[in-house]
Amino acid sequence: MNRLQQAIAFIGIGLLAAAAFGSLVRRRFRAWWFFSLYLLMVLVLEGLMLVAPARFHTPEFWPAKETAYAGLRFAMACEVGVRTMRAFPGALATARRIVLLILAVTLAAVATAPESSHYTTFVGELQPRVLNGSIWMLTAIAGVILWYRLPVQPFHKAILLSYLPYVLVFTILLSYLGRAGWQRGIAMQYVNQLAYVTLVAYWNYAIWRRDPPTGLRSSRPDQDGAA
């Protein structure tokens, strides 16, 4: 990592810390547990990579970190789906079927990836397949919300609408880097960093702002989180 990349990374860490703090102060963790856990985990693990790169910015640590993120990403998608659809049994049943199918297909895609313990195989082959599964999960949940015209919390919507484009960008980037190699893909790394910083800046906005009133009869201070 050069100086500029380090500077961008520090800005990202700062924003992550603000987002994690905001999640606690604004009680957003009550609206979305796994999202708050994801923020915390990214803050800690990316922070470790930044302050002790010799120990943590390694080909062994990176795949483990990304695997943890992938697990949390799936959990985030499942949680937002359950929270949005728990009052609607028809929608929940449909979402459950679709999510199971996506998980099965993703598992199959991962199982059929080229076998190799090499780092570039993880980056270029395995990780894009897992990210693709995340994209499908998030897209499927958003699709069910649209189809059944379900009301969705402003906070959930803001995070979904911002995170999905980033995951798309990250997937494309990773596939490219897996083929071109890290050295040739330096421009793509900058793109990823800047995209992530923009994403986390927006998350700060979504976490710290006052949600617009829902206008529903039963509207009251959100029982799941900040009003």
Binding site: N132, L150, T171
Partner: protein, 224 residues
């Protein structure tokens, strides 16, 4: 791998776009409408308005037929034109209502069973065919909600067809095309079909409201 990523990207962006432009206040307002007595009042007023519009069209066409029998062909043509203008305004209202009912039918947890359209109730051959298709496909659909939406779709297509044929017959009469009697008979058949389509649409609305009545609305409102 790249084709998969491209597919995911396109699908994801499309869904994001639709979700992003959705007006959440409007969605919540719809749910409130659906789950409170206001919804029933609104839909009953829609039913009243629709019937009034159809009665206005009917009165105009009755007048047109009477005037034609009395020999005032030009006056009859003018009344046909007026009648068509009423139908022209009426049809989009019905299509909007059917579309809203289809959307709301997805929001209902359990739909009351509804019978398919009866081909014998219609006179225009094209709408009769649609009703037969409705009856056939109805047997292959599993859930009552899907059958309900199929019925709404067929009704919507029926309104579209009836309006198109009405326009065609009105124009042919206005341009003094041959076989005028056949066009007048067709207009009479289309009028009857409009009434049947409207009655069936109102029946669908009644079924939707009945399904809503069985939902635990207060619990749902609280959980939303």
């Amino acid at each position: 791998m790249w084709w998969l990523i491209t597919l995911s990207t396109l699908g994801g962006l499309a869904v994001l776009f639709l979700l992003g432009r959705r007006n959440e206040r409007s969605v919540r307002r719809d749910w409130e409408l659906l789950l409170t007595p206001r919804g029933e009042e609104l839909y009953r007023s829609i039913s009243g308005r629709v019937q009034t519009q159809l009665e206005l069209a009917d009165t105009t066409y009755d007048e047109a037929f009477t005037v034609r029998q009395l020999g005032s062909v030009e006056e009859a043509k003018h009344l046909l034109d007026v009648g068509f203008k009423v139908i022209e305004k009426f049809c989009p209202t019905m299509l909007q209502l059917l579309s809203a009912m289809a959307t709301f039918s997805r929001m209902v947890s359990a739909m009351t069973p509804i019978r398919p359209l009866r081909p014998q109730s219609f006179r225009l051959p094209q709408i009769v065919s649609l009703a037969y298709v409705n009856q056939l496909v109805h047997q292959f659909l599993v859930s009552t909600a899907e059958r309900f939406r199929l019925r709404l779709y067929v009704l919507g297509r029926g309104f579209g067809l009836a309006t198109r044929f009405l326009l065609s017959s009105t124009r042919r009469i206005a341009s003094n095309a041959p076989e005028q009697d056949r066009e007048w008979d067709q207009i009479q058949a289309i009028r009857d079909d409009f009434q049947t389509l409207t009655d069936e649409s109102m029946e669908s609305l009644r079924v939707l409201l009945t399904s809503l009545a069985t939902q635990d609305r207060d619990a749902l409102l609280d959980r939303i």
